[in-house]
Amino acid sequence: MKSYSLLVPTTVATLLAAGCQTAPSSTGDAQMSSVPTPQAQLPSPETIAFPADRTATLWVKGLACPYCVHNIDRQLAAMEGVERVHVDLQTGKVRVALVAGHPATRQQLVKAIGDSGFTLDRIEMPR
């Protein structure tokens, strides 16, 4: 019973606070957008796909057209220790999500870019 006595007022207070924060205002939606929503506090799908603690970032030069994206993608994605790959063609930034527990090494990533026929400018491994 002791725990219930604490839980009820806490819940009511939380609901009231939430109601205040999300109540429509007379100034419209602009004010609402400045308030953090529950969705904004969740990690984005991108963060889930490429978690910072096991994502390597490579900067590659010489990507002439969309066809080049597949060349890099197939070299990296075929490696053990690589979970997924994203190539940003415009910037040459390649993100590689590594498998937890047995990630691909820096040397393996460097070799894969070499085999794909492009120049690796720099590489950042997860800490």
């Binding site: 900067w59 890099i72 070299q75």
Partner: protein
């Protein structure tokens, strides 16, 4: 009639063939110094319709030819590519006002085995590169009847490519050493200049990038029997990460031909897919 058909067919197949132009940001009728990645495979299929004629004092011929060219490109390493080019004549029709019409069913023409070796590469930006490749290989007399040369002919040449942002320039030249004899013994110089411009997008999308390239090419031919031919070839390509769809028209701007028919125009469509 047979010789005329053979000469036309061989010249058309030369036009579609040498060099393995299967990579992307690659012109449609010229070579490019870009290669697939190690163990990468590209299949290119081209379909071409050629209309030609020969108007001389003794003969008046109208000629139509439909052909297809299947090219397999395999990346042995990032510096070495092997290419197999298999031309197939789908149909050939020669209309002679005196002797009537002569049609031919589909026949394979001579295979080409080629390789590209990268000698120079300077990637100086995310979408920028300058490269030079050596081209070498053989044309093998594997075709049938009139679609066959009588010799194994070495091919040697080079290709230069410069890509900078939305612009790309290509220049290549290949020499085919014809080891045959008689009228089949002429060497062939094929030379190309190409300019490509990325029409869309201005900046690539982050996810599933695609692009539309417009191109204009000059495709030249010189044979050691002093036949000369130069085409201007506008084209368009839709490029995805694995597929390319493309179309071109080739229009002669200079023809000095004494040994084979004049081509009025060539229409080509095709696709490339990489694995």
């Amino acid at each position: 009639m047979m010789r005329l058909g053979r000469v036309l067919v061989l010249s058309v197949l030369v036009l579609t063939g040498v060099g393995g132009r299967a990579y992307a940001q690659a012109p449609i009728n010229s070579n490019v110094a870009l290669q697939p990645s190690k163990d990468g495979l590209i299949i290119r299929q081209q379909f071409r319709y050629t209309k030609g004629e020969q108007s001389r004092s003794t003969t008046n011929l109208d000629i139509e030819l439909a052909s297809t060219d299947t090219t397999l490109v395999y990346g042995v390493s990032d510096k070495l590519t092997l290419i197999l080019d298999t031309p197939l004549v789908l149909s050939r029709r020669i209309e002679n006002r005196t002797t009537g019409r002569d049609d031919t069913d589909s026949e394979f023409a001579d295979l080409r085995f080629l390789s590209k070796i990268r000698l120079f590469r300077n990637d100086f930006g995310p979408n920028d590169t300058t490269r030079f490749d050596l081209i070498g290989g053989l044309e093998i007399p594997t075709g049938r009847d009139e679609f066959r040369s009588d010799s194994i002919d070495p091919i040697l040449g080079g290709v230069f490519t410069h890509v900078e942002g939305r612009h790309a320039f290509d220049a290549d030249a290949t020499w085919k050493f014809n080891t045959g004899s008689g009228d089949r013994g002429t060497d062939l110089l094929k030379y190309d200049l190409a300019y490509l411009y990325r029409l869309s997008p201005e900046t690539y999308a982050s996810m599933r990038p695609t692009a539309i390239f417009g191109s204009v090419e000059l495709n030249g031919f010189y044979e050691t029997n002093n036949d000369n031919e130069l085409f201007v070839s506008p084209g368009i390509q839709y490029v995805m990460t694995r597929w390319i769809i493309e179309a071109t028209v080739q229009i002669p701007v200079w023809q000095d031909l004494n040994h084979r028919v004049e081509r009025d125009f060539i229409v080509g469509i095709g696709f490339r897919v990489q694995f």
